[in-house]
């Protein structure tokens, strides 16, 4: 169990860095606007960052361990299918999560 001091430090650090990233560019806006490399990065980065983060959240899953792999695969398929169909993040996230929770809960019981 993490200690309150460690948790407080983690929260403060995350908040300070996030705020800095949001606020600092306003101070150095014009050079940033001129940087073609940064602009290119801002356009291409999101899809890749999201792919990496999605993979990272699945790191605990062994492909051969059916108990975790089947709900995860079903949840992924549901998220992609729902989102391509509805384009509604709420429907896609809640639908996929509900399916995953149902499978994971009853599979393990």
């Amino acid at each position: 169990m993490p200690t309150p001091l460690y948790l407080t430090a983690a929260v403060a650090l995350s908040a300070a860095i996030t705020w800095g990233l949001r606020a600092l560019p306003f101070a150095v806006l014009s050079p940033l606007r001129r940087s073609a490399a940064l602009r290119r990065l801002s356009l291409s980065m999101p899809v890749g960052v999201m792919v990496i983060l999605a993979l990272y959240t699945l790191r605990g899953i062994e492909p051969t361990a059916w108990r975790s792999a089947v709900p995860a695969a079903a949840g992924l398929a549901a998220a992609v299918a729902l989102h391509l169909r509805t384009r509604n993040a709420v429907v896609s996230v809640l639908g996929a999560t509900a399916l995953h929770v149902a499978l994971a809960t009853f599979w393990q019981a």
Binding site: I52, V93, Q108
Partner: protein
């Protein structure tokens, strides 16, 4: 004069409420799932309020939960926060901060989330007053913090343990990836990301996220240097592509 001012303020608030209604519909349930996860991680319910109010960066909060649960060193948490939220650097390019009065600017910058950016990025926001923009941001944060707090309180009362709730985060990232992909269909980018992840998992399993992000960013920069020198025209066209290719974050659909 005071009356006119109050009425103006009420109008700004009402306008902001209408602007944020659809985004609120996605922020609130996502906040709920964050709150439930906080108590499932073993933290007191009020940490959900602290996380959502102070850190206030949706995807980072979900990741942070897993990181603190694993007692990840603070240095790695700092690097993760930096890399995950680096995209916010670019929101300053279009956010109308100059409209917001000086005293409210630190908050407007603090609350410049994906959703706040998405709402102000369009033409609609051109006519908005500074007060309406700040109200919009306040309301977005209220939805998020309220969702997280209620989720944590409800999660603490829930008699059964639900397995697999953390999948909400995976689903969120998949959805955000699909939206970002829709905005700019460059197949090499997700492939580069997946390859970076695979290399990181093999070489530095203990520093997975950090290595993967570094490899990915380095790869993108390398690609920029290489294609930039070959095709100058494409680089010239980039500025006009910025607006329409901006990724649509969660909840921006309507």
């Amino acid at each position: 004069m005071f009356d006119a001012r109050t009425r103006g303020g009420a109008r700004d608030l009402a306008g902001a409420a209408a602007d944020t209604a659809s985004v609120g519909l996605s922020l609130f349930p996502l906040g709920l799932s964050l709150g439930v996860l906080v108590v499932h991680t073993g933290l007191e319910w009020w940490w959900a309020t602290v996380f959502s109010a102070v850190v206030y960066a949706g995807s980072l909060e979900f990741l942070l939960l897993g990181l603190v649960a694993a007692a990840t060193p603070l240095a790695q948490i700092a690097v993760t926060a930096f890399l995950v939220n680096f995209r916010h650097v670019f929101y300053a390019l279009s956010f109308p901060l100059h409209k917001v009065r000086r005293g409210a600017r630190p908050y407007a910058m603090f609350a410049l989330t994906d959703e706040a950016y998405a709402l102000t990025a369009g033409d609609r926001a051109a006519s908005w007053s500074g007060a309406r923009i700040v109200w919009m941001q306040v309301l977005l944060q209220v939805y998020w913090v309220a969702g997280a707090t209620l989720g944590a309180v409800g999660g603490a009362l829930l008699p059964v343990t639900l397995h697999g709730l953390e999948f909400a985060l995976t689903a969120l990232f998949v959805v955000l990836a699909l939206d970002a992909w829709q905005a700019r269909r460059e197949l090499p980018v997700p492939l580069l990301a997946a390859a970076s992840y695979a290399i990181a998992a093999l070489v530095t399993p203990g520093q997975l996220l950090l290595t993967a992000m570094a490899l990915f960013t380095g790869g993108l920069l390398l690609r920029h240097v290489m294609t930039g020198s070959v095709d100058v025209r494409e680089a010239d066209e980039e500025p006009s592509a910025l607006e329409k290719a901006a990724p649509v974050p969660v909840g921006a659909e309507r």
